[in-house]
């Protein structure tokens, strides 16, 4: 057997109007952790979809050599059969089924034609041990956190005897602890002989675990760097990714002088009738004009729930107490429409789930929240709409062949920019950004931060919810820290440090008493 477990040669993949992969060469050594990085839309996911048979043989050109044999995968099942497993960012588990049912879904443990459930549970427990997940295999998936679900996915892959594991942005939705845990697991799997390809925009973790780093740009391989012997710096990766150096990824604002309080939330207490729990307890926060306020906290601290309950309360929580004051006036926001009217915009954390209409195009998604502005009489002015979409495409640099491109076909980062464009178009006075840079490359992150700075300089207020501590620290004028549905601390931008924020974010017991 040769040193390389996988070699992809001269891969070309085209979509209508777009050449996503333009002659990519990609080699992976047996038993290494290989990180694949590149800007949004560089073609990383597409390359992995070619590898796994999602884009079947014949729809691309080039060769895939795996274990010294040329492979012609017609479907995912074909690639799985030879030991390749791919784990997508959108997890493919069935929430209502138990962990063990999920792990063996599709390749059940059988005796003759009958499923042996006892054996299944025993084996599932073994797999869970391998991924160091210490939970009862009979638990339902829906009761697990995202981080744990990710581990179940890996357990599932292991149960299929995987040799080459592909992870597409596995840590994008994980908090620091879970991410660390996952990375350690990958290293452990490596020692057990599993080869790993990981796509990530979090360069810190790439530097930490990669044996080789391959950079894609514009559908071509820029470089493949050996990180085993020499240490590769984040700066060097960035330079290769975007073609220029970015000195400080948190750009400085020119003037910083927040105005009067614009939005105030008082004694906000919210009860979730579905889970039958109080999810937010007596929250008090305010945001000034021209100020960026960060909300930090661990996954599940209640930050998204807070945003949703303010923004028209779509999940139908029971708001048992509290009031919203916008620009000095008490407001009742019963529907997102009311919130938008009051000048609030909310960019959701889950752009595919509830942010965008994926089957529609860029211009549709850009205009949908403010069609009133484009309507003359009862008719929507198509020409104006196209112009608006084009303007935003240009101003925030959405990479797409035209504004009629279907949003579902855009890369993750460009989808995120479309959601931002949509909310900028409603010309809000306050913008709530929920995990605004999740799954976004450094270049685009920098662009989004720059946009944020420009907006607050013009007097807009911004609330930024983020699980990325560095981003919260780098961008905020003021930081609230949330834990278990309560505000557990408030820090000025300059006095905030990682340690202080983390301490407050995990401060649970004291608050409860």
């Amino acid at each position: 057997m040769s040193e390389n477990i996988l070699e992809m040669r001269g891969i070309i993949k085209e979509f209508p109007g777009v050449r996503a992969l333009n002659n990519v060469n990609f080699k992976v050594r047996r038993g290494e952790i290989h990180c694949l990085v590149g800007e949004n839309g560089a073609g990383k996911s597409t390359l992995m979809k070619v590898l796994s048979g999602v884009h079947p043989y014949g729809t691309y050109s080039g060769q895939i050599i795996y274990n010294d044999e040329e492979q012609k995968f017609k479907s995912i099942a074909d690639s799985e059969a030879v030991g390749i497993a791919i784990i997508y960012q959108e997890l493919a588990l069935i929430p209502e089924l138990s962990i063990y049912e999920n792990i063996y879904f599709g390749h059940e443990v059988t005796e003759g034609r009958i499923i042996n459930w006892n054996q299944t549970i025993v084996q599932a427990r073994e797999m869970l041990q391998k991924v160091r997940l210490n939970v009862n295999p009979s638990m339902k998936i829906k009761n697990l956190s995202v981080g744990k679900r990710q581990l179940v996915e890996i357990a599932k892959a292991l149960s299929k005897n995987v040799k080459l594991l592909v992870l597409d942005e596995p840590t994008a939705a994980l908090n620091e602890d879970d991410s660390e845990n996952l990375l350690e697991l990958l290293i452990q799997l490596k020692h057990q002989g599993v080869t790993c390809i990981m796509i990530s925009h979090k360069l810190k973790e790439v530097v930490a675990i990669a044996d080789t780093i391959t950079v894609l740009r514009d559908g071509a391989t820029i470089t493949s760097m050996d990180a085993e012997k020499t240490k590769i710096s984040e700066h060097e990766i960035i330079k290769n990714m975007v073609g220029r150096a970015i000195e400080n990824i948190y750009p400085k604002r020119k003037k910083k002088n927040p105005g009067p309080v614009f939005l105030e939330i008082k004694n906000w207490t919210v009860y979730n009738p579905v889970s039958e729990r109080e999810i937010l307890h007596d929250i008090n926060i305010n945001v000034r004009k021209g100020e960026i306020v960060g909300i930090a906290g661990l996954m599940g601290a209640g930050r998204t729930e807070l945003a949703l309950s303010i923004f028209g309360n779509v999940p139908n929580y029971k708001i048992t107490n509290g009031e919203i004051i916008v620009d000095g006036l008490r407001k009742k926001l019963k529907h997102p429409k009311d919130a938008i009217k009051a000048g609030i915009a909310y960019v959701t954390e889950d752009r595919k789930g509830n942010g965008l209409v994926l089957i529609q195009d860029i211009k549709y998604n850009t205009s949908i929240a403010n069609l009133e502005k484009l309507t003359e009489g009862i008719i929507i002015n198509d020409k104006k709409e196209i112009q608006v979409a084009k303007d935003y495409q240009k101003s925030i640099n959405i990479k797409a062949p035209s504004v009629r491109q279907i949003v579902g076909n855009l890369s993750g980062g460009n989808q995120q920019k479309v959601s931002i464009a949509k909310w900028l178009f409603v010309e809000p006075k306050i913008l709530i950004l929920d995990e605004p840079t999740r799954g976004i490359d450094v270049g685009a992150k920098f662009e989004i931060y720059t946009i944020m700075n420009k907006l607050v300089e013009q007097g807009m207020s911004i609330i930024m919810i983020s699980s990325e501590l560095l981003e919260i620290l780098g961008m905020s004028d003021r930081i609230y820290i949330m834990s278990e549905g309560s505000i557990t601390g408030e820090l000025k931008g300059e006095e905030a440090t990682e340690q202080k924020v983390m301490a407050m974010a995990t401060r649970v017991e004291e608050v409860m008493e």
């Binding site: 559908g219 529907h335 429409k337 509830n354 529609q360 549709y364 069609l371 198509d382 020409k383 062949p401």
Partner: protein, 402 residues
């Protein structure tokens, strides 16, 4: 990523490969037209030219009308990922209600709006259950199917079939646009309308293409564009020529045309239309964008029931009577028309213009089989088979295009 910034595909692409791409992208739509042409030729041959005779085409239009308007409403419902199984009996029942009013001597110009209004009420009731209470549409309208079937039996119980004698009412689905006083054998007004239609089509197509060119969007190359316009013009003129040979344009065609125009306009030019597609594509995202999903859902149900009422009026007019079995199976034909016309089974996608063609496919089959004297039992099987074939084809081709 490399973005092709060509103004149009024809810059350096041979026509052959453009055609190929065009067919691949629009295979669904083309398949529907091919099926239609095939059905026309097939039945015309088997009936020795009877099928494409002026008289039968007029008949076909009248027959398609009551399914077509229903299918337009159903398309909206399917786009927002609901379903309405009750429309058949709502049509039957409200058609009977109209007949009873007429029998009691009410003025036809009062009866028609009143019936449509009842339709809206029925729709609001079902829409309320679906949107506000949260009962699944399938359940709500299955119950509705029983309820209105009961109502229909009730109102026709005493009398059986209710005959309609009102001339105006009967003309809706049996009458034709009057001709201009001169003319002779051929129907001049019909021909004039046909020519006008061709001119309008050409102008609007050219304008559309020009505006797309202005924004550097991909457009068809000139030769293909011209062939498309020619093809459309020929079809329109052919139909008009055939109709002019009998009694001209049926009133039903006018009614369907108006309904089609209003709904097409609404779906593509107004906010409401955008919201409907948005809800079908991702209702949570729509809601968070400030769309009142509940109200739009109510609207869609009110509108499909109103069109069911219209369908009932057309059907009652066509038979000149209301019968206890009116409306039986309409819902299936309407749903089939929508799916054949390319509404996605996953919601969010669909066009009412194509739905009308879908309705024409379904009703041509029925009409042709009737002409040939095929037994009703076989007809059901054929219609069911075509329906499922269309959906399977749709699912398959959509999967490929991903």
């Amino acid at each position: 990523m490399k973005v092709s910034d060509k103004k149009s595909v024809n810059d350096n692409e041979p026509i052959g490969s453009e055609l190929h791409a065009l067919i691949k992208e629009n295979i669904r739509e083309y398949a529907m037209y091919i099926a239609l042409v095939f059905i026309f030729i097939y039945f015309n041959v088997l009936t020795n030219g009877l099928f494409l005779s002026s008289r039968n085409i007029s008949d076909l239009i009248n027959q398609t009308g009551y399914i077509a308007v229903l299918a337009v409403g159903m398309t909206l419902i399917l786009i927002i990922k609901h379903i309405d199984l009750s429309v058949g009996y709502v049509a039957g029942f409200l058609g009977a209600v109209a007949a009873i009013f007429l029998k009691n001597g009410w003025n036809v110009w009062l009866v028609i709006p009143l019936t449509l209004f009842f339709g809206v009420c029925v729709g609001l009731y079902q829409g309320f259950l679906v949107a506000r209470i949260g009962v699944p549409a399938f359940v709500t309208t299955l119950a509705g199917m029983f309820i209105f079937r009961g109502f229909l039996s009730r109102v026709t119980a005493g009398t059986g079939t209710i005959i309609v004698r009102d001339e105006v009412f009967r003309a809706i689905s049996n009458g034709f646009l009057p001709d201009l006083p001169f003319g002779g054998n051929l129907h001049v007004l019909t021909l004039l309308i046909g020519i006008l239609a061709v001119i309008l089509v050409i102008i609007s197509q050219i304008r559309q293409r020009n505006s797309m060119l202005k924004y550097n969007f991909k457009v068809m190359s000139l030769p293909i564009f011209i062939s498309k316009i020619l093809f459309m013009s020929v079809i329109i003129l052919l139909v008009v020529w055939i109709l002019a040979g009998y009694r001209g344009i049926p009133w039903t065609a006018v009614i369907v045309g108006v309904v089609l125009f209003i709904y097409n306009f609404m779906l593509h030019k107004t906010r409401l239309g955008r919201y409907i597609y948005g809800i079908g594509g991702n209702s949570e995202a729509a809601e968070l964008s400030g769309v009142n999903v509940k109200n739009v859902t109510m609207f869609a149900f009110a509108s499909v029931s109103m069109l069911a009422a219209l369908s009932g009026i057309l059907y009652t007019s066509r038979l000149s009577s209301a019968t206890p079995t009116a409306g039986l199976g309409f819902e299936l034909d309407a749903i089939a028309s929508s799916y054949i016309g390319g509404v996605s089974v996953n919601g969010g996608i669909g066009r009412v213009t194509n739905t009308i063609v879908g309705a024409l496919v379904i009703m041509s089959l029925t009409n042709g089989m009737n002409l040939m004297g095929v037994d009703v039992s076989y007809q059901y099987v054929v219609r069911g088979a075509i329906f499922i074939l269309a959906v399977a084809f749709d699912v398959k081709t959509r999967g490929k295009r991903r």
